[in-house]
């Protein structure tokens, strides 16, 4: 009996969560404004209760999937009794309703975490932060209950089996990619809440930035890894070897990442130097707003994309209202409460402050570029100028030079001093690295590749220009210590986090530059016994057979691969699958990953006889793309582990680590 009621229990839990969120979003905020401790004390219990009930609702939906309850419309449309259990588990967020529920669960989770790790914050600050987060939760829970109820039933005519999960989503990458990405998106709600709370409390000092920094880093690290996972998934699952398509939905995730990156750096300036105060607050609001905008673009159907969920105009309208209210009210508060007089602390144009300002300006320009490219078709359409499409050429033409320009300053940043330094001193610190980067970057492609390529050389020079000054800086920082090892020990985790993050950027740049220009791709016709040479490897089809998987039929080719002139060989098995429930064909790529190159074999169309069109690719350094992103994420996490965040009680006194620079 109770099992049959699971969807209703879930629905009911959502309603309770909404009520708790409403209390969380009102009482503490009013309490903070009118200085009533009892009202403010509502914040923490409500955050915990709301998280509990959203979690119950989420568990109920997962249970409906696991138990194959096809009377629930959401389960019937997105699952099937033949689906393996782990895909039933992940199918929960493979559709619009379930993914908004996951989004809300994470939002409530971040709120709960903020309520737990805020013991040392002033009570009114906590109340305002949790109050703001409660209001955002109210918006999303209302959205679910009003337009996207995942517990809707198909009664009395329930289907005997489900329509199956989209085969593209039946994959390990898709089990982890959306949760990571959402953790990032939603995580920015915490720093957003901090910013609004600081505005409301009129407390725009360095303190709020110190509290907000670890949360920002954590959200940013999740988002970085989430985007990388998405790119990795597209690479091996879609079957044509690309890793970034400038698709509106990809752009939607890149936008908050870009402003989030700017935010991390500007938080550093505000905390250390007390400048850029209003700017930092604005970036915090913008970053979360762009997360919401991404949601709107993906779910409202205003843009066409392979990723887009099924559209429903009422949903689009609701999200737009949610977006307008959240962002509009935040920006209004910003306009009214941001400091009227700028207390900008003076700095010299040759200083870390100035370099970080340039970094922020460039990141914002890049953000606007990507945003314009994404919504431009929409703008022209709305103005009645007809339809146009903006493709990869636009993005590459602007994004690549701007990124290179930013990296020029990025190489200078870590070695620069706060406030001011002589241009000569800065020049002396980076001159050697600059020359070495130029020479090595220009020569390396000559040595290791058959053809010299300007863009690869630029990519390598850029990457080396970021990395080499880091070593110089390490040397400078440890020079005065008794030994090199002792000097290293004195460096803070935040410093290592920054270095690791920058190293990650350099590694990604190398990957992008090399794979974009030295990628070898051949489309060939192959049957059993045929053999072809690509990029120094010999590919021979030794077998072709049909097999039956749990919910699909497949043609599997066995390809024996060996390096020319080498005895050793290995097998690769690309597949062409037909998923039974949806009648949808899918390409299952065979990959031979390696640190310096991937081999990539995909089956195309069946030709006459036993022949197939095969696409064989040699992708040098492609792993570096994602490796770099992982390093960036690790850098973000490392910076959080810095001891000054763990010693809150003494945080008022300048911690020893604070003397070091963290950009």
């Amino acid at each position: 009996m109770l099992i049959k009621m699971i969807p209703e229990i879930g629905h009911f839990a959502l309603v309770i969560a909404l009520l708790l969120a409403i209390v969380q979003g009102t009482m503490p905020l009013v309490g903070a404004a009118t200085r009533r401790p009892l009202w403010m004390a509502f914040a923490r219990p409500m955050a915990a209760g709301q998280f509990l009930f959203v979690a119950i609702a989420y568990a109920c939906l997962t249970a409906s999937y696991m138990l194959d309850d096809f009377s629930v419309a959401n389960v019937a449309n997105n699952s099937n009794s033949m689906l393996p259990w782990y895909y039933k588990f992940s199918a929960v967020w493979g559709n619009h309703e379930g993914s908004v529920l996951l989004w809300s669960l994470m939002l409530a989770g971040w709120g709960f975490a903020a309520s737990r790790f805020s013991k040392d914050l002033p009570e009114d600050m906590v109340s305002r932060v949790l109050g703001v987060m409660g209001l955002v939760c109210v918006g999303f829970l209302l959205f679910i209950l009003a337009t996207s109820n995942p517990f809707e039933r198909l009664l009395p005519n329930m289907p005997s089996d489900g329509a199956d999960l989209n085969p593209l989503l039946q994959d390990f990458g898709l089990i982890i990619h959306p949760p990571m990405l959402y953790m990032g998106y939603v995580g920015f709600s915490v720093v957003f809440a901090f910013a609004i709370a600081a505005l409301l409390g009129g407390r725009l000092d360095a303190a709020w930035t110190r509290w907000a920094r670890p949360w920002t880093n954590l959200a940013w690290a999740f988002l970085t890894v989430g985007i990388a996972l998405g790119s990795w998934w597209a690479y091996y699952e879609l079957g044509w070897g690309g890793w970034w398509f400038w698709d509106p939905v990809e752009n939607a995730s890149l936008l908050p990442w870009l402003t989030g990156t700017a935010l991390m750096h500007s938080l550093a300036v505000t905390e250390k130097r007390g400048s850029f105060k209003s700017w930092t607050v604005l970036l915090a609001i913008t970053t979360f707003s762009l997360s919401l905008l991404g949601t709107f673009l993906v779910r409202s159907g205003v843009l066409t994309s392979v990723h887009a969920f099924a559209n429903d105009p009422s949903r689009g309208f609701f999200i737009l209202m949610l977006l307008t209210v959240t962002v509009g009210v935040s920006l209004l508060i910003f306009a009214l409460r941001a400091p009227r007089v700028s207390h900008t602390v003076g700095f010299n144009w040759v200083s870390r402050d100035a370099l970080l300002l340039i970094n922020n300006i460039l990141l914002v320009i890049i953000t606007v570029t990507v945003l314009l490219g994404t919504v431009y078709p929409l703008l022209l359409d709305a103005l009645g100028f007809g339809k146009i499409s903006v493709g990869p050429p636009y993005f590459n033409a602007l994004f690549v030079p701007l990124t290179v320009l930013m990296c020029v300053f990025m190489g200078l940043g870590p070695g620069a001093r706060w406030k001011s330094m002589s241009a000569r001193d800065l020049g002396r610190r980076v001159a050697l690295s600059g020359v070495a980067a130029l020479v090595l970057g220009a020569v390396l492609p000559l040595i290791f590749a058959e053809q010299w390529n300007l863009w690869v050389a630029i990519g390598l020079i850029t990457a080396l220009w970021i990395v080499l000054p880091m070593f110089r800086d390490l040397f400078d920082k440890t020079r005065n210590a008794s030994s090199f090892g002792a000097g290293l020990k004195k460096l803070s985790l935040a410093y290592w986090g920054m270095q690791l993050g920058h190293l990650g950027v350099a590694v990604t740049i190398v990957g992008v530059a090399v794979v974009s220009h030295y990628n070898v791709e051949r489309s060939v016709r192959m049957g059993p016994g045929d053999s072809v040479q690509v990029a120094g490897y010999e590919f021979t089809m030794t077998n072709l057979q049909a097999r039956r998987g749990p919910n699909f039929l497949a043609d599997t080719a066995t390809i024996e691969v060996s390096r020319l002139g080498s005895e050793r060989s290995f097998e690769m098995r690309p597949e062409k699958r037909l998923y039974i429930a949806r009648g949808m064909p899918m390409t299952q790529v065979a990959l031979r990953p390696g640190f310096f190159r991937d081999l990539y074999v995909a089956m195309g169309e069946e030709l006459d006889g036993d022949d197939w069109a095969m696409r064989i690719q040699y992708k040098p350094f492609v792993r570096w793309l994602w490796l770099g992103a992982l390093l960036m994420g690790a850098g973000g996490i490392l910076a959080i582990a810095d001891r000054r965040y763990r010693r809150r009680k003494t945080a008022e006194a300048p911690a020893p680590a604070a003397q070091e620079a963290h950009a």
């Binding site: 709107f296 205003v302 309208f317 009227r340 359409d381 499409s389 493709g391 169309e605």
Partner: protein, 175 residues
């Protein structure tokens, strides 16, 4: 005073963007074919992808119901759509491709790899025909009747159920 106005700027920018997003909601990209329906296919005089010497114009559509598919090698969804187009070709539907904003090599490579359901492909590297068609992105598909008039428009990827529920009935209707 001036600074306060400056602080209002982000709000104003956002409100302008919001208005466009609201307009965008009513301009659903999947239902914006009214301007083209029942009109003649835009005039063009272009070479084909397969043969740079061969020129084609709207007389291509005279006498037979034709499905015109706008595609490009750079377009992910076009690759997913190919099996459905090949299926349509197998069922005897006449297909003409518009190779949109592509290079000749890439376009031909695409057909070799993913199959070629098209009788002929119009080569449109600069997107001029695509512009006249009001193409927003690839893939897009138009049904042209035997007199060269556009009768049906599908935006985005065609999945197997679209073939069954929309494309085939429309083709039969105008046959």
């Amino acid at each position: 005073m001036n600074r306060r106005l400056l602080l209002l700027l982000p709000l104003l920018i956002f409100l302008v963007l919001g208005v466009f997003l609201y307009r965008g909601l009513s301009l659903d990209p999947f239902h914006r074919d009214s301007a083209l329906l029942a009109r003649e296919f835009p005039n063009f005089d272009m070479v084909t992808l397969e043969d740079p010497e061969r020129r084609v114009d709207p007389s291509l559509f005279q006498g037979e119901v034709t499905l015109v598919n706008v595609w490009g090698e750079w377009c992910p969804a076009c690759k997913q759509e190919m099996p459905q187009l090949l299926d349509l070709a197998d069922r005897g539907v006449r297909l003409v491709g518009v190779n949109y904003r592509d290079t000749r090599d890439k376009g031909l490579g695409f057909l070799e790899e993913f199959g070629n359901p098209f009788e002929v492909n119009i080569f449109d590297p600069d997107g001029t025909l695509g512009f006249d068609l009001g193409v927003y992105g690839a893939p897009e598909t138009f049904l042209v009747d035997r007199d060269g008039v556009i009768r049906y428009h599908h935006t985005g990827y065609i999945d197997p159920s679209d073939v069954r529920d929309h494309i085939l009935p429309e083709v039969e209707k105008w046959q």
